[in-house]
Subunit: 424 residues, 2 copies
């Protein structure tokens, strides 16, 4: 399959040329050994450190322009780099370099009665596309993860970080090339035309998977428009269900952490379901309220504490990402499961209970990417899962679910070794 | 997420109601044990046998109408059932019932330093859609595979088999229901409106995966229009490369089988690459020609045998599915690999060689779902791979590749068992 080699400068043609060059580079990259890929990433990290001056100067221009343009303080903070943040970016690349190479793992092996030897072997996916917003660290983070798993990657960052991304990309690729990786294995889309995003999303067969990194607006647009498979989560509407047999102290502690440790992450609890037979509801809610959380509840919940506001029906489908929680009383496990089936975004849902049978039923019946017993939903994270690093959390049902790390950036092929067998 | 419960009779509303009912049925099905699912499928098979009279009568009407309507003899043959074929359908359902249940398998397990126990567990995908053409056996085959892996399925068969499919579906579901599986776990789309196919393809979030079963026109349309992930292969442009170090007898035998055993299957060889340093080209081509295969070649190939016709450039990208093969001489492994990278459809590609190093290079560098050494590409089949049965062969790069059996109809979730851990 040959990608378009047109010399036109439409966004489609530009993305097509990027993808064709990426495919060729990926075939080359796939031949490199594990130590070669690791060494090239270490060189990329070293090059990022060596280029600190240029990167910070580029970032200062981006930041100044964005500040003049009225970018919000939160977005400006995401955009800004300093020595410590740049060191963090280089350290993250080094950490990915030191992760075990997933490629080449033999997933299964068998010998057929006719003597054919079959093996299913992990291989890179191919050409990935990353579409992201203001954080320039994604340029290096995502590129490192893609390269570690043997993939080429086409990066499309936010317009406010264009100089920062270019400087980081230049430094990163300079190191990679010194390590024997083709430059085209990591590309920034060479146009600021917004239509280039649409061209990436439409490039089925040229780009194998798109990963959006950013806010809900970006993810929704990518999921809506993409013809290329997308690995992402749109919402993290995570539930914690406090069962009748929950330990009240544990329930209070875990529910508080699930919401309040960092209310703005995708694994934060957004809805709390409390069993009517659980005796400690008042304490759990008091702890949340006194810790600064706004609680919204149904009529029965409001009766527990006068500081609780009424929940609207839309509250059960809202990802607040703020210190706000919706609370509902439920009559037993089945009602909790039904609520979760109706309202969960399939990210992370948890139960607090000392009843092992109920815990297993909950694990079995909740159809989300991550299901937890007696733990804070804030653990929904690739690092916490021991995956080393994550490219994102996926709530789709195919390919990879939950925290996605290197393994999720691979696929497999079947290798068949024969001695001249023909099929009867 | 609640699917549309509108009472409208647009194709979208009809498919939405099917999908909502399928989702609820799937949640119920997912709670059944392995023996319960197996027993229900055995009841479905028994019910198919018990309903032979009704199914064959329905099929006779379909066949008569299609014959009057001028359906091609090949299509009519695919449509027609008799006692033996119906017995084959019931046997296939029984064989699937007896396959091991993939659901519940623990793919990996770990304990984190904080005591959290993580496991990644195989679960059903959810709601699948099967879109197929004239073969009514797909109604039972595909339903059995979907149910065995715990999925609900929405079936959309060809209009020429509408009565046959309805009769098979009725019998199958009667057996399933007697075995405790909800009827909505296997549904036929209850309208003949062609727009229902489009509604299925657009039902992202309601249907989790679509599998087209049929000719290239159907697959192309599904791949083109679907918003739901598709598991399929469009083309089987399979290559065999005879390396310089190939045994001439093995090369002749394997190449002949790869093309001529059944030229019309997707794993049939369509292009033969012969190394210029291989001494036995004349014998290999003579065997193909004398076995009834039309050979098309480049100028150097035509010089080998006067019965060889010239190949056009389009021949290298053509899936003949007939006793025709395109043949090219190549100067070494790299040229063979380059040709395959440019022209393979990513289905199955094979090398014939006695050089173990070259064989490993070929296995490593060819980026197809199935790569073979010293074996006929006609082995590309779930049964031959020991998978028991296959729902199809996939050439996409995500989720599942090559022959897809029960495991490809599953995904996984993460289960986290804690003792009250909160994230610092």
């Amino acid at each position: 399959m040959q990608a378009g080699l047109s010399s036109a400068n439409t966004p489609e043609a530009i993305v097509g040329r990027c993808a064709a060059a990426a495919r060729a580079a990926q075939h080359h990259l796939a031949q490199l050994s594990d130590p070669q890929k690791a060494a090239a990433l270490h060189r990329a990290a070293a090059s990022l450190r060596d280029s600190a001056g240029a990167i910070l100067a580029a970032n200062a221009k981006d930041s100044a322009e964005s500040e003049r343009g009225g970018l919000s303080p939160a977005m400006l903070d995401r955009l800004r780099l300093d020595d410590a943040r740049l060191d963090g970016i280089a350290l993250a690349v080094e950490a990915v370099a030191d992760l075990p190479d997933p490629v080449g793992e033999i997933l299964e092996k068998s010998e057929r009665p006719n003597g054919l030897e079959l093996s299913r072997v992990r291989v890179p996916i191919g050409v990935l596309g990353i579409i992201y917003e203001s954080r320039p660290n994604v340029t290096a983070d995502a590129a490192a993860l893609c390269i570690r798993a043997g993939n080429a990657v086409i990066l499309r960052g936010g317009s406010e970080a264009v100089r920062s991304n270019a400087a980081i990309h230049h430094a990163f690729v300079t190191g990679l090339v010194a390590g024997g990786v083709p430059a085209a294995a990591v590309q920034l889309v060479p146009t600021q035309d917004r239509a280039a995003v649409g061209a990436m999303l439409a490039a089925a067969g040229q780009i194998d998977m798109i990963i959006p990194r950013g806010g809900k607006g970006l993810v929704a647009r990518v999921q809506q428009d993409a013809r290329v498979p997308v690995l992402a989560h749109l919402d993290g509407i995570c539930h914690t269900y406090i069962h009748s047999a929950a330990d009240p102290a544990m329930a209070g502690e875990v529910a508080f952490n699930a919401k309040m440790r960092r209310p703005g992450i995708c694994g934060a609890m957004e809805s709390l379901l409390i069993d009517t037979q659980f005796g400690g509801a008042h304490g759990v809610l008091e702890r949340l309220i006194e810790g600064g959380c706004a609680v919204r509840g149904d009529a029965r919940v409001m009766a527990i504490d006068s500081r609780i506001a009424p929940a609207q029906s839309s509250d059960w489908d809202t990802e607040y990402l703020e210190p706000i929680v919706s609370v509902r009383l439920v009559d037993g496990l089945d009602e909790a499961l039904a609520h979760i089936a109706d309202h969960s975004s399939g990210h992370t849902d948890a139960i607090i209970t000392d009843d092992a049978d109920v815990a297993e039923k909950f694990l079995n019946r909740v159809d989300s990417a991550i299901v937890m017993v007696n733990a804070s939903s804030q653990f929904a994270d690739g690092g916490e899962f021991g995956l080393g690093a994550e490219i994102g959390i996926a709530t789709g049902r195919l390919h990879a679910r939950g925290p996605v790390a290197l393994e999720g950036l691979t696929t497999y092929k079947w290798c068949v070794r024969g001695t001249g067998q023909v099929r009867p």
